[in-house]
Amino acid sequence: MSYLPYGLAVWIFLVGLYGVASSRNFVHLVVSLTVTQSSTYVLLLAIGYVKHGTAPIFADVPQERTAVDPVVQALALTDIVVSVTVAALLLALAVQVQKRRNTVNPDELHELHG
């Protein structure tokens, strides 16, 4: 029971990977990729959790209180904002593919054209 959050991270990762492998539409593929990426945030925050710890903001709690790990939160915070920008880049690519090859199904895009 004490390993449940790690199990959640593994479950989300595999679900997202299944979405990427079995997708029929590029937009659905990009969203599944984002789901896979969110499993890493869950894993990071689960590693940093301290039992009976509070948030690492000392504006209203005294300094001596136990707090959870702030370093993994710093990593996850910037990562979330950057991941949506990368998803936008992938969607822009999908839009260009739609314009040139008139399909958004990954299964129909086998050959490289000149």
Partner: protein, 244 residues
């Protein structure tokens, strides 16, 4: 490789991957049982050293400020990639007027946009004190501009966000971060070392260069997201024009 073969291959390898990941995860310490020294140490010293009550912001902009420089440039590069892919050649062509225009919606939009602007500035300014900071507040600021498009019309939105202004603000934000780092080098210490006057912890004027880096990141993130939305919406308007 047909779809069936691919899915069968995925099923087999996912089974193996699951086993490996569960074995790896069982080697971690139990949930809640945390004893790494770096986090505990930073929680103890961050407030007294840097006078910033939000330890996470102090880590993002000071103790690990170099990593944030890299992340900011990832943002910059990918927005540049979107602009390269989607920016059209017809500069500022005359757009048709929107089909529907509702006065009530416009009024509600003005109220919402003003409230979002103030909220975004609040979240950015209180970064070193309470949860918040440049990354979160930047997107709230960008959404204030998008409300103008959603509740008003496309022409009003484009007049608020001309391309040269967006490029200038985004470049200032991205380059400003590096310039502040170099400024601390000119003052005699290391790159991105916290130089500024540390005020009282818990007030707005505190934490030295963390507040300045906060503002630079907020400028860059808000301009980057408005640029992203602008590129997508312009492409949409072009498609509408072509298909009539």
């Amino acid at each position: 490789m047909t779809r069936r073969v691919r899915l069968a291959l995925f099923g087999v390898s996912a089974g193996g991957l699951t086993a490996l990941m569960l074995w790896a995860v069982s080697g971690l310490p139990a949930f809640g049982d945390y004893h790494h020294r770096y986090g505990i140490l930073l929680n103890k010293v961050a407030v007294s050293e840097r006078h910033a009550t939000n330890v996470v912001t102090a880590i993002v902009f000071d103790y690990r400020g170099f990593d944030t420089l890299g992340e900011e440039f990832i943002l910059f590069a990918s927005v540049m990639g979107v602009a390269l892919l989607l920016r059209d050649v017809r500069e500022d062509a005359e757009r048709p007027r929107d089909a529907t225009h509702s006065d009530v919606l416009g009024l509600v939009g003005i109220g919402l946009a003003a409230a979002l602007l103030v909220l975004g500035l609040y979240v950015v300014a209180h970064g070193p004190i309470t949860p918040g900071g440049g990354f979160q507040g930047g997107i709230v600021l960008a959404s204030a501009f998008v409300i103008v498009y959603l509740a008003g019309e496309y022409r009003a939105y484009r007049r608020l966000t001309p391309h040269p202004a967006l490029d200038l603000v985004e470049g200032t934000g991205a380059g400003g971060y590096a310039v502040i780092g170099i400024a601390s080098m000119l003052l005699g210490s290391a790159f991105l070392h916290n130089f500024g006057p540390f005020g009282m912890p818990g007030t707005l004027a505190s934490a030295g260069s963390i507040a300045l880096l906060n503002i630079a990141v907020a400028l860059e993130v808000s301009a980057a997201f408005v640029l992203l939305f602008t590129e997508f919406l312009e492409e949409l308007m072009d498609t509408r024009l072509e298909t009539g």
